[in-house]
């Protein structure tokens, strides 16, 4: 049924967008493709699971996990990425490899500390699924879509209506000029990481809730898919990222629903990406081609 697939697609897509948003914000400021964002996704999910299991308060789990993961992000940015990118003549692959290293460490660290097994997330919603005709909407879906919308609204507000957001946009446009104009790029960078890792954390919890499972390897697939989405979205463009996330979410759902398993679901994002890049090398939504 098409309507059901569309709802599924939008929901998955908005989680994707949320996952990739962190990487987009970070790319915008530091020009780093931070694969380790997917580590934040896993860390966030585990923190959320832990906080939920002792407090049984989902909102608290989200908030606290996002803040803690965001702070981890700031530490990583300050002590690992910043020194690397502030050296003269860094080859672009250097920060990328760093993030691959960080990502590898995190996944394995979680496995060693908490065991390799899949854990049940165990969120129970009291109300049952809503049925409209044949369309079934689970309460956790509504929760996820609403929360995603709220997070994006907050992000939009910060970027467009606050001084901090102005600083972010100025730095993303041209960090040298921003610096010369007295914009504090350190704060912009910290903001990118708090928001970026926080968003990834919330996406991790959402996926944990949706599939009722979290595992040390849960960040593997999002890490690559996230890359495809931020590139499709025009690298460093928040609006583009949301659009790209939704497109990938819908494409995956529709392809696997109507075309069966001719293609592995997780390769679709990259196939879309490769085709789009062929047609438009600057991504689906590009700011400007200078």
């Amino acid at each position: 049924m098409l309507m059901q697939q569309l709802v599924n697609g939008v929901m998955i897509g908005s989680v994707y967008a949320l996952t990739a948003m962190g990487a987009t914000l970070i790319y915008g400021i530091l020009r780093i493709l931070d694969i380790a964002n997917a580590a934040a996704y896993a860390i966030g999910a585990y923190l959320g699971w832990y906080i939920y299991s002792i407090s049984h308060n989902l909102l608290l789990a989200f908030l606290l996990s996002m803040i803690l993961t965001g702070l981890i992000g700031v530490v990583i940015q300050k002590y690992i990425y910043y020194p690397i990118i502030s050296k003269p003549n860094v080859i672009p692959i250097v920060p990328l490899i760093t993030s691959v290293g960080l990502f590898t460490i995190t996944g394995d660290l979680i496995r060693l500390i908490l065991g390799p097994n899949v854990k049940e997330f165990g969120v129970v919603f009291k109300s049952g699924a809503i049925k409209i005709g044949k369309l079934i909407i689970n309460p956790e879906w509504i929760f996820i879509i609403v929360l995603t919308a709220v997070l994006f609204a907050i992000l939009w507000f910060i970027l467009n209506k606050t001084r901090l957001g102005l600083a972010w946009r100025a730095t993303a446009e041209d960090s040298e000029i921003a610096k010369a104009m007295g914009v504090n790029t350190n704060i912009s960078m910290a903001l990118s990481y708090i928001l970026g890792y926080g968003f990834a954390a919330s996406a991790g919890i959402m996926v944990g809730m949706l599939y009722n499972s979290i595992s040390p390897t849960m960040g593997d697939i999002p890490s690559y898919k996230m890359l495809a989405i931020i590139v499709l979205g025009g690298l460093g463009n928040p609006v583009g990222t949301v659009v790209a996330g939704l497109i990938i979410g819908l494409a995956e759902t529709l392809v696997s629903a109507y075309m069966g398993s001719i293609l592995p679901r997780d390769a679709i994002a990259f196939i879309v990406l490769i085709f789009v890049l062929l047609l438009k090398p600057s991504g689906l939504v590009s700011k400007k081609s200078a």
Binding site: I80, K87, I93, V100, T104, L112, V231, L235, L273
Partner: protein, 302 residues
């Protein structure tokens, strides 16, 4: 026997690191999906020998050429993309290629492929014979890269790696040379894949997954980007370490990841790279020796 098997595996990584180094180190292109081409070579030769019954020795050059051609085509497609875009696209290529192996019946789909043991003058190939073969291939590859570095081709790649606009102002067709570097690097990876498939006698799509690309990149990076000695050293170090430190087996990926982060943070040019702390000390020692001999000349970097 155990020693030989480890040595063959390390040798395979040395070849992969050397070949990736042509693309990343010499041409300066962020290719992150090298394992895909390793896999294309492996499956190509496996199809030839095990499905079509063609000799292993014919499948070797065919794997080299087929992978090189596919590498050239994919290179041509992604060549317009720079740095980060190229990195992501090549990661994507890795995923898509592995997905094709995993989902296509002719490649054994999710069951993998059993590869028949090749014959060498009527005798089944043994591990020492593979080791000899790998050793010969490594020597040939090193000679080739050395020749390349002393040629106009090598100078063209060096120019592109440093500054594409400057390179083109010196008459270098940047796109063409990027594709050529891609073709060379992927072709050698394909050849290596062919040897790997027949040595293992069984291949499975995940043997060529992105994580394998990361391992190869780690080797190049840890050893030192853009040098032959660095690529060999990195591959041997990271290839042998897990065997030497068996007790570390459980921490292997942490060690890999940690090494990558530490190297990038403190020594992005690699352990044996240009101006790394090891090479600085070595050239100091050489300078001292020269001084003692009364030469008094400056020690130039190689």
């Amino acid at each position: 026997m155990y020693f030989t098997v480890v040595a063959v595996n390390v040798g395979i990584f040395v070849l992969l690191a050397l070949s990736l180094n042509i693309i990343i180190g010499y041409a300066g292109q962020s290719a992150m999906g090298h394992a895909a081409f390793f896999g294309i070579g492996a499956y190509t030769s496996a199809l030839m020998t095990s499905t079509m019954g063609i000799s292993f020795w014919i499948s070797l050059p065919v794997a080299l050429i087929v992978t090189g051609i596919i590498g050239a085509v994919l290179g041509l497609i992604s060549i317009r993309l720079k740095d980060d875009f190229l990195a992501i696209t090549t990661i994507g290529i890795n995923f898509v290629v592995v997905a094709i192996f995993q989902y296509s019946e002719i490649f054994g789909a999710s069951l993998g492929m059993t590869v028949s043991k090749p014959l060498f003058f009527g005798v089944k190939m043994t591990a020492p014979m593979y080791l000899t073969l790998i050793f010969i291939l490594i020597v040939l590859t090193c000679l080739f890269i050395n020749k390349m570095n002393k040629s106009w081709f090598g100078l063209a790649l060096a120019s592109i790696r440093n500054d594409e606009m400057a390179a083109s102002s010196l008459g270098i067709d940047v796109n063409k040379y990027k594709v050529l570097a891609f073709t060379l690097g992927t072709a050698i990876a394909g050849l290596t894949g062919a040897v790997y498939a027949h040595f293992m006698t069984f291949i499975y799509s995940s043997d060529f997954a992105f994580i394998v690309s990361i391992s190869i990149i780690s080797m190049v990076v840890v050893g030192g980007i853009g040098t032959i000695k660095g690529a060999i050293f990195g591959a041997v170090l990271l290839g042998v370490a897990p065997e030497l430190f068996r007790f570390l087996a459980d921490y292997r990926m942490i060690v890999y990841g940690g090494l990558l982060v530490l190297m990038m943070r403190f020594q992005p040019q690699g352990l044996l790279g240009d101006n790394s702390f090891i090479m600085r000390n070595i050239s100091k020692i050489f300078a001292n020796i020269k001084k003692q001999k009364g030469g008094g000349q400056n020690a130039g970097n190689a």
